[in-house]
């Protein structure tokens, strides 16, 4: 990997994060919170598919994934996104590598796998929930029941699945736009 590849990673990470940030502003309204793992993979698929056309060497997708995790840590979304992104990034890298870094179908799946870390943003709300509410028994069982109902445990795998499926949809959308615009402009 040379300096130029690293700069490409930086540029596309910036675009991806700006999209994420714009969507996360919607997430401030609590109802939209679970929707984050639906919207981000779809919109993020557009820059990510363009990024994949630049990927020719092992490690570029992985590094971008780790950087996303670090950014989540820096902006206060806790460590689970970083822990997940290290593995999902490597997995995405291997998926794209199995297509020799040019298979379009594999690229769509790559975006799905890459998007898994978005869902990991919610993990602290699930994992720590019992511990957090268990220490507040004096608030009454009624309270604990109500709050756990808002974030039921089965939501957790559903969010990951949603992130993957929407990642694939985003990949298809990105591929379509790639053909429609970027190849014509000569930058794909």
């Amino acid at each position: 990997m040379k300096g130029k590849d690293l700069i490409h990673i930086g540029v596309f990470s910036a675009i991806y994060f700006v999209i994420l940030f714009a969507v996360a502003m919607l997430g401030m309204i609590p109802v939209f919170l679970p929707l984050l793992s639906v919207i981000v993979p779809i919109l993020g698929g557009i820059p990510f598919m363009l990024f994949l056309t630049r990927v020719k060497k092992f490690g570029m997708i992985w590094i971008m994934s780790i950087i996303m995790g670090i950014l989540m840590l820096l902006t206060g979304m806790s460590w689970p996104p970083l822990a997940v992104s290290v593995f999902s990034g490597l997995l995405a890298e291997l998926v794209y590598k199995s297509g020799k870094y040019k298979s379009a179908a594999k690229a769509v799946v790559t975006n799905g796998v890459f998007s898994l870390w978005v869902a990991a943003n919610y993990l602290p709300l699930f994992f720590a929930a019992d511990k957090y509410w268990a220490s507040r028994q004096n608030y009454g069982q009624d309270y604990i029941d109500t709050v756990t109902k808002l974030m039921p445990a089965w939501m957790c795998p559903v969010l990951f699945l949603a992130a993957f499926v929407c990642g694939v949809i985003g990949g298809l959308l990105g591929k379509k736009l790639l053909q429609k615009h970027f190849e014509k402009a000569g930058i794909a």
């Binding site: 540029v11 910036a14 220490s135 974030m151």
Partner: protein
């Protein structure tokens, strides 16, 4: 948003100190570690207010005031109101507590960190922590690139509004495509110019890089680190049963 205001940042902390505070917030405020121990619970409140205090030293009055007020309000509500509430009111307040008491302090800390750390300082700190170049170069490019992306996006947004491509406009269906595609085309072009500029300044060479930025632990870092560290000590003391 993503660029540091060096003149007005007040108390200068080492980037690694800020990172330590962030991790502590994540462990105790968001993670709820040791919340069965009263001393840790009080300590968590103290460390949750710390980002607001740091914002005050950076003269970001509005943000500090707002976040402090929200935190104090919701926390008081959690302590006083929740035992008496039932039904729908309980659900709403429970969700508010989840977001504002647990999540918000670390988000505020993130906002403070981004607005008070220069890219050079951040890279110097990463270097001291022995983070490899493969991570630090993309990160520094990214931080350099944020203002550019936002500037381009604002310009594209204005142009598209003129063509009535906006939410609620005549061509709302094209809202996303007509913004993201031009943004990426110009970002890619700017990116390749940037990489040419960076390569002429020796980014690709494999020698050890230097940095003129001075970072290090000072008195204020010691104080903040002491505060963060004492939480862990209290937690361990509580776990082995010295305090309750």
């Amino acid at each position: 948003m993503f660029t540091a205001d060096i003149e007005n940042r007040g108390l200068v902390l080492d980037p690694r100190t800020k990172l330590a505070v962030m991790l502590t917030l994540v462990v105790f405020a968001l993670g709820g570690t040791g919340s069965g121990i009263i001393a840790v619970r009080i300590g968590t409140v103290v460390i949750s207010i710390l980002p607001t205090v740091l914002l005050l030293t950076a003269k970001q009055w509005k943000k500090a005031f707002l976040s402090g007020l929200i935190y104090a309000g919701i926390k008081t509500a959690e302590i006083l109101l929740i035992p008496t509430l039932t039904g729908a009111a309980l659900s709403v307040l429970g969700l508010c507590c989840m977001i504002f008491v647990r999540l918000m302090p670390s988000l505020i800390m993130g906002a403070y960190m981004l607005s008070s750390t220069t890219v050079s300082e951040f890279i110097a700190a990463m270097h001291r922590m022995h983070i490899p170049q493969q991570i630090t170069i993309p990160l520094s490019v990214m931080f350099r690139f944020f203002p550019t992306v936002l500037e381009e996006f604002a310009a594209i947004n204005t142009a598209m509004k003129m063509r009535d491509i906006r939410i609620g406009g005549k061509h709302a269906g094209r809202f996303i495509e007509y913004r993201l595609v031009p943004l990426m085309v110009c970002s890619v072009n700017i990116g390749s110019e940037l990489s040419a500029a960076a390569l002429t300044r020796g980014l690709g060479v494999s020698v050890k890089r230097t940095n003129i930025c001075k970072i290090g632990f000072r008195l204020q870092d010691t104080a903040v680190l002491f505060l963060a560290g004492s939480l862990y000590v209290l937690w361990i003391l509580g776990m082995i049963g010295v305090i309750t």
